[in-house]
Symmetry: C2
Subunit: 239 residues, 2 copies
Amino acid sequence: MIDKHILKLRARDDIGAEEETAIRGAVKDVVRLPADSVVVRAFEPMDYSTILVSGLACRQKDLRDGRRQITELHVAGDFTDLHSFTLKYLEHDIATLSDCRFAIVPHDRLREITERFPHLARVYWFATNLDAAIHREWSVSLGRRSALARMAHLFCELYVRLDLVELTHDGGYDLPLTQAELADTLGMTAVHANRTLQELRSLAHVEFARGRVSISDFDALKRVAEFNPAYLYLDRRAR
Amino acid sequence: MIDKHILKLRARDDIGAEEETAIRGAVKDVVRLPADSVVVRAFEPMDYSTILVSGLACRQKDLRDGRRQITELHVAGDFTDLHSFTLKYLEHDIATLSDCRFAIVPHDRLREITERFPHLARVYWFATNLDAAIHREWSVSLGRRSALARMAHLFCELYVRLDLVELTHDGGYDLPLTQAELADTLGMTAVHANRTLQELRSLAHVEFARGRVSISDFDALKRVAEFNPAYLYLDRRAR
DNA sequence: CGGTTGTTTGATAGGCCTCAAAGTCAGTGG
DNA sequence: CCACTGACTTTGAGGCCTATCAAACAACCG
């Protein structure tokens, strides 16, 4: 059920058998939600967190005028709202972008296992710090990169993150987003996202169609994006 | 020495006397650095973290072409690079923007106190999650807000954060930034920052001159920014 | 198969960038 | 005390990137 989650943890640190058992035991429930559902509503008191088991989800913040910014995309294995464990509520929504399954982990169980295994506390602390590192990279994209480089960068990031949980195949991956949602992620309009997509296809041979990203020349894409995966902390070490 | 740090922690949760003693005891050294120094270099292995005691510092990421994005500003009391405790290195620089003093906290002492006081582990975990919440709000600014609203929003945020550590006075606060550095924070050019500053002055009666922000009408500023401080998690509760 | 949602294209406008130069200010040294 | 210097701020002109508005087109779905 949460195999991809464990897989992702193990990419960054050793997780003992006892720890793994504790993590698996902390899952209380698994729920299914259709696309475009709000999983967690901003500012509602939370006493559980959720691991994304399958599907695509996001964190999004709405503005008064109805526009929104997606601040992170979540793939299978991500602890989408682990930060609510210490924050007690979220200042953003968690929403599904496709059909999703979530594993529910109550905060009191999180507290138990992090007190029993201080190492796991650090591993999960690390996980939220990694989210923050991704936020920072997105800030650079939004603040300093052109629309083209920003989009290329996102496609690179998702390739690496999905590859880690074995969700890439044939030089690409499923990304069930509309162009409007992609635009909300990249801080641009849907029209411009469409045009940028066309430019990216002709420049770097990257396709985005029918919910799938196909990368025929990853190096070309990386060059356009000036992509360096170091911010994803892919090295395994004791946390 | 780290009074402002303790003050900030206590704004979000109760910190016991024993915990406070442990925190103060974890400080090994205090160092002084002039403006425009690099405190922590990206990708260097870290075995300590630093609390900003006084001055203004930032997290910054450089691009190949020499441009940069400042992804967070740090004020006195902030644990500027607490995340290196679990990340082991940072993917960005920490740099000073004014003369600064830092308290050095070795990671092994952090490990000690977080294992001895699981509650402190959560308090510090919370602190890094708060950083991430600020990152997300900045993503919204960079992605969806106009230059004017973005600048207004930053000035609001800094007012609240500085007020928390008693560093505001006479309806304003010291912000020893050049316009170019402000521009790097807001994802715009220095020229445009200058023009936006002028617009903000005439629209919301906000001055930024000689390293000081003077706000004569905070409500007007908040309106321009659509500022809501909820993302700063200002409520005190058990973490 | 009609309606709805999502994609694509075109025309126009505007916000922000770029380049360049002038103006201001604090600090320095004669 | 006053040139001189270097850093920073301000202004102007022109252009590009991206937004906006509108409409046609394509794809999906009950």
